[in-house]
């Protein structure tokens, strides 16, 4: 098991945001975590990334417990998060954002090669390498956020609502890219409100509701499940 979460309890002050969740990601999988706004999806990813500390519970990655590890060390273990809302560094050029993504990489030659390879994947970014990233379009910013994440050679990529605010065409494109990244060997934990798309590419999925996992199964199973359809897929 690559990532395993046991009885994770996270609070914001008095707010009990995660109320003892269990789930896992196997090597090579795409696992989707779906749920409505405020269900606790981002909280889950931020706890895995070490930005939030759980009050209780265990997070194991590659057999090591990491719930007390600070975020910068979790990155070095190979868990990379592409946060909700892209969170690119808007006052930096595109190439500088990529450099930030490669922050833990010491070897300049490797960074150079990786920049070229993400530019091959995202040709738009190559054209705009010197542009301030804050001036990119929403779709380009999401591409940059993913590209920046790839610069760190993730073993496990945590994606927080990568389709948020994008046109259907771009969403399609992003999901193709996610699948492609996965096929090249990166395990993925995908958080989405766009359940339809997420379930379509996920090997397995969990449904999160107000801090609890209420359902789980393969992507295809959940796509056909009545209550999932009603709650998350527009009810038809």
């Amino acid at each position: 098991m690559l990532l395993s979460i046991e009885n994770l309890q996270v609070y914001y002050g008095a707010i009990h945001a995660l109320q003892g969740i269990h789930f896992s990601v196997e090597k090579g999988e795409i696992v989707a975590l779906i749920g409505a706004n405020g269900a606790g999806k981002s909280t889950t990813l931020n706890t895995i990334s070490g930005i939030l500390r759980p009050r209780e519970g265990k997070i194991s990655f590659d057999g090591q417990e990491i719930q007390q590890t600070p975020p910068q060390d979790i990155v070095r273990k190979g868990i990379i998060q592409v946060p909700e809302g892209r969170k690119i560094f808007g006052r930096m050029a595109v190439w500088e954002n990529l450099e930030m993504g490669a922050y833990t990489q010491k070897d300049r030659a490797v960074i150079k090669r990786d920049v070229e390879s993400v530019f091959d994947r995202f040709p738009r970014l190559r054209e705009r390498r010197n542009q301030l990233s804050g001036t990119l379009s929403g779709g380009e910013q999401q591409m940059l956020a993913i590209a920046r994440g790839l610069m760190a050679h993730p073993t496990l990529l945590l994606l927080d609502e990568p389709s948020m605010g994008l046109s259907p065409l771009l969403v399609e494109q992003i999901f193709d890219i996610i699948q492609d990244i996965n096929e090249q060997g990166t395990s993925i934990l995908l958080v989405e409100q766009n359940a339809q798309m997420a379930l379509a590419i996920a090997d397995r999925a969990y449904v999160l509701e107000t801090g609890k996992i209420v359902m789980q199964g393969t992507g295809d199973d959940l796509l056909e499940d009545k209550s999932v359809i009603e709650a998350y897929l527009g009810g038809h």
Binding site: P71, Q72, V75, K87, M92, Y103
Partner: protein, 368 residues
């Protein structure tokens, strides 16, 4: 946009909506009238005097700029005004002063000059050692200040940090007084940097002294500012600093150790303040526990003027303030004792008329 970007001064800001244009016009008229009457009508000063004022302002401005960068760097990364920063500069000045004193007491007699000391036998080494000492002391002071006083309050409201900074300022000032005594100490430079020595420049028939110490300070300030700029814009640490300034959580998701970057920011601020402190030693020649206070507040003014968080703004603000302060009393026809008032009037005016600073912009996307 401006309202949103400056939650620091909500009251001032609300009032300013009405008085801003009025204040602006009144001040413009007053300044124009004063400048006209002093420079054109009264014609009190000849050209060489203005050059002299401008020159000393430029030199002072270099020091203000170095200190102002420290305010701006720390604000950019922590959203706090480090009011103890002037004291960091003062401690650096003491570091440099004690090093110079120490070297002066190391005898290096030669047959030609039995009274020679290390300071004058190796003046360049001595100056380098003085800067090394001053910079080390300030860097250490900045580092410890953050670690001991500010880090435990990382998640506290900003007002508490501000009060802590003021407390730290008072503490450090009194600590220095306790350790080094309240009297002013004369700084004795190596002979090559004698304070009265310099080049002479003839302006409208009168000699203007361009002091070596001043040129030295100014050149060194410029070099340090270029160095800082390169660090911030080109180095990996600088990029991490900018990332932390923009968004701490996301920076940590890149593998940046945020605490470490904050420590280093305080160290860099300390290095620049320490250099300014030793320049103060060398150019001004007097040091006591109080010398950091006014330059600190003036540098803060400069940083605000340049748009706090904005590095080139702090540099320009510092230079501008130094020059205004030197030329201002003469240009406005007021007493020279009032030069400090000019700086503080500017501070108040900037806060009222344009709180985001002249080059104002917002560095952070994070709201506290």
């Amino acid at each position: 946009m401006e309202n949103k970007s400056s939650p620091r001064f909500p009251l001032l800001l609300r009032v300013s909506r009405y008085i801003r244009p009025i204040v602006g016009v009144i001040i413009a008229i007053f300044l124009a009238w004063q400048l006209y009457s002093v420079i054109v009508v009264q014609h009190n000063f000849s050209a060489d005097t203005w050059v002299r004022f401008g020159l000393s302002g430029l030199i002072l401005g270099g020091m203000y700029a170095l200190i102002a960068i420290g305010y701006t760097l720390v604000y950019g990364i922590m959203f706090m005004i480090n009011f103890a920063h002037g004291e960091v500069m003062m401690l650096g000045a003491f570091g440099g002063y004690f090093m110079l004193e120490l070297l002066r007491f190391i005898p290096m007699p030669t047959s030609a000059n039995p009274n020679l000391n290390f300071l004058n036998a190796y003046p360049i080494v001595s100056i380098i050692l003085a800067f090394t000492a001053g910079i080390s002391v300030s860097a250490l002071a900045g580092y410890l200040l953050e670690k001991i006083a500010y880090r435990p309050l990382r998640k506290a409201p900003r007002l508490i940090l501000l009060i802590t900074a003021i407390g730290a300022s008072i503490f450090l000032q009194n600590l220095a007084m306790l350790l080094f005594g309240p009297t002013r100490k004369n700084v004795i430079n190596p002979d090559i940097l004698d304070r009265g020595a310099g080049w002479t420049w003839m302006v409208s028939g009168n000699p203007v002294l361009i002091p070596y110490t001043g040129v030295f300070s100014l050149v060194l300030s410029a070099l340090l500012m270029i160095g800082l700029y390169l660090v911030v814009q080109r180095s990996k640490l600088g990029r991490a600093m900018r990332a932390v300034a923009q968004d701490k959580n996301t920076a940590s998701l890149m593998g940046v150790d945020v605490d470490d970057v904050i420590s280093k920011t305080f160290i860099i601020s300390g290095v620049l303040a320490g250099a300014a402190g030793v320049m103060w030693d060398i150019h001004m020649g007097l040091v006591n526990h109080y010398i950091g206070f006014l330059p600190g507040i003036k540098a803060f003014t400069a940083a605000v003027m340049g748009g706090i968080g904005n590095i080139p703004g702090a540099m320009l603000g510092g230079m501008f303030l130094g020059i205004i302060e030197s030329i201002g009393p003469a240009a406005l026809g007021i007493d020279f004792q009032l030069k400090d008032v000019i700086a503080f009037s500017i501070l108040v005016l900037v806060l009222i008329v344009r709180p985001s600073g002249i080059l104002g912009e917002k560095l952070s996307e994070e709201k506290l």
